[in-house]
Symmetry: C2
């Protein structure tokens, strides 16, 4: 008996449904195009030091591409970074000094808040609802904190982990408050181009063009391929010079072959085509996940209904709310499904009854299997609890 | 007349002899091999998130490769970084708090000292001679500073910019002092594998194996290709976990395609062959530069005689010592030769009568042309000075 259950476990482990990582599925990354570009477009200059601000061909391709979006920009505002993470590191390195107050969404992206904390920030967790960060609540929170924040870290579209989108009214109010407080808005938007339903909400750069208090962090990780580690920041030209100086002492320049490959990918127009394809794919996957969850778990959970991006935020209800998602994680892994427990998204470990589920990286069939396994895990957890 | 001199200038500018950048020549980077590896070895997993500590195949290839050198190591001590620069950033982020004293060589690598300063370090510049950092002088300097250093930043082999190598006796003394002070030795050694003459001096890791106070920063930038942005740190396993945590909030992971290409390059044994080839090349270039300088400038300069690496350190003597190398830089550029003025290597802008010359990136013929142009620049500067 032990042998057979062990081998069953092993076979399940090899077949885990991956709702955990915030990463596109391998099969949705255009690897063949990258290989072809590597042969035709990598040259000696791809392997030597590049400019710290980024390779000219990538900056040009990016300015061209962004001119077709709702957030056009110019060359003198951009710095290429090692993914969005380095954009956040740069923002915090430049703006956050020990003891500074930084407002973060609750829940928030762990590595974003961790970076602010690593520069000595005191984090103020601010609540969210279905329209994102409750901006109206900030003045009272700031007043209670007794001092103005130095920065406000926000993921406006299809937030990680909640999947919610900050409403237009709240964006406008947030800009007003930022000016009252002279605080930087760290506008982290990795998922914005992945809207598959509903209407675009104007971005901070659109609402308040060329606002020096808006520091925008972008990345190709979610819209193209995370392994490239290529992203960018879009900021006031004076701040851009600080970004370049800081990046010089972080990694000299972003890896050059990946910059050249990304530039050529955009230049061919493949990025727009790729985005159309994955938006449709991710919409189907989100619908599949919500339908499976509603069917299997019904009243036992609430869940968000994101209009784009990667993530659903699920909260356990009723008797299941007694189940710790942190404890559930191991049971679920044994059952063959992975997710991220809610506490990972709060510096003070809130949300132990919540789970972040990534729908973007699994097919609808696999999603159904994953949700069945998750349901079984919850049943097992409840039978232990009671 | 104006037209012809302008076009002469333009033609010279396009033909500048590049003694400035610390980078291998484009033609000495094995681009064809990388292109071939890109086609045969990049796969979907090359484009998704990698482990923060580095890709397993690169870590394994590196452990194998290092087992053939004087500094063998183990998997549990290594973290792959975005070049050596990120290794320095990680060291400073982990060990340096505002107000901490950090000893740096004088002259030193600008971005190394700048990184320490960016975390609030107070820099103590310590003098060097032909055997590198004068370690015997440190106790008196530290005593005068009134407190122990938190870290000692040292480039032991073929130092940037001086080209000198720290003697074995001084390395041993430095380890002893580090233990007296409980200070971290930031052992930055990008050039160690590029020894082309003389005997290897034992490294810190060799002298004091598994010493938690030795934090070693390494890179493929100088020995293979800087554009890859792939390096590594070799440190105590307990500190390694701090490195992984810190890197997680810097860039999540190092770009994955470059890690896979580097791993395959090493696995094929091409790194050893490549190192043999470039060592011989750089030896010829160093000899050519020293001969040209001795012939053209003789008593007007002193220069170091590096046994490896990239750089010669040249100091102006006699009447020429009145010439500012910072001012000379523009004249030299007009004459068609680039170098880095000495002040760039000191936080307090010492060494205005010194120049860093990179011999590694130019052929002996081009080196001769560059030295002739440098000589003409010095003649011009002197005729202005007097």
């Amino acid at each position: 008996m032990i042998d057979s259950s062990t081998s069953l476990l092993a076979s399940q482990k090899h077949d885990i449904v991956r709702f955990a990582m915030g990463s596109p599925a391998n099969e949705d990354i255009p690897v063949d195009v990258f290989r072809e570009i590597a042969v035709t477009h990598l040259n000696p200059s791809s392997f030597t030091y590049g400019a710290t601000e980024g390779e000219p061909q990538l900056l040009e391709a990016l300015v061209d591409y962004l001119s077709t979006t709702s957030e056009p920009t110019s060359y003198d505002r951009l710095v290429i970074t090692a993914g969005g993470m380095q954009g956040l590191d740069l923002a915090c390195k430049i703006f956050v000094d020990p003891g500074d107050l930084v407002i973060v969404e609750s829940p928030t992206y762990t590595n974003g808040s961790a970076t602010a904390a690593s520069y000595g920030a005191e984090l103020l967790e601010a609540p969210m609802d279905a329209d994102g960060l409750i901006v109206e609540a900030l003045p009272a929170l700031v007043s209670a904190a007794g001092r103005s924040p130095k920065a406000i870290y926000v993921i406006p579209n299809f937030q990680n982990p909640s999947g919610t989108t900050l409403s237009a009214q709240r964006r406008e109010l947030l800009i007003k408050l930022a000016h009252d407080w002279n605080a930087i808005i760290i506008d982290d938007d990795p998922y914005g181009p992945l809207r598959f339903t509903g209407q675009d909400v104007p971005g901070f750069q659109h609402i308040s063009p060329r606002d020096p208090l808006v520091f925008s962090v972008r990345t190709f990780s979610k819209i193209l391929a995370p392994g490239l580690r290529v992203g960018w920041v879009d900021t006031d030209p004076k701040i851009r010079q600080l970004v370049i100086n800081a990046k010089q002492a972080m990694d000299t320049c972003t890896n050059v072959p990946a910059q050249h490959m990304t530039a050529e990918f955009i230049r061919r127009g493949d990025l727009s085509a790729h985005l159309r394809r994955i938006r449709s794919l991710y919409f189907d996957r989100k619908c599949a996940m919500r339908e499976s969850l509603a069917h299997s778990l019904g009243e036992r959970i609430t869940m968000t209904d994101p209009e784009g991006g990667f993530f659903l935020w699920l909260r356990l209800q009723g008797e299941d709310a007694m189940t710790s998602s942190t404890a559930l994680f191991e049971t679920a892994l044994r059952e063959g499904v992975a997710f991220i427990p809610g506490t990972a998204f709060s510096p003070s470990y809130k949300f132990d009854n919540a789970l972040r589920l990534c729908f973007a990286a699994s097919t609808p069939d696999r999603i159904q299997v994953g949700v069945e396994r998750l349901t079984r895990s919850l049943d097992l957890a409840r039978s232990v609890d009671y």
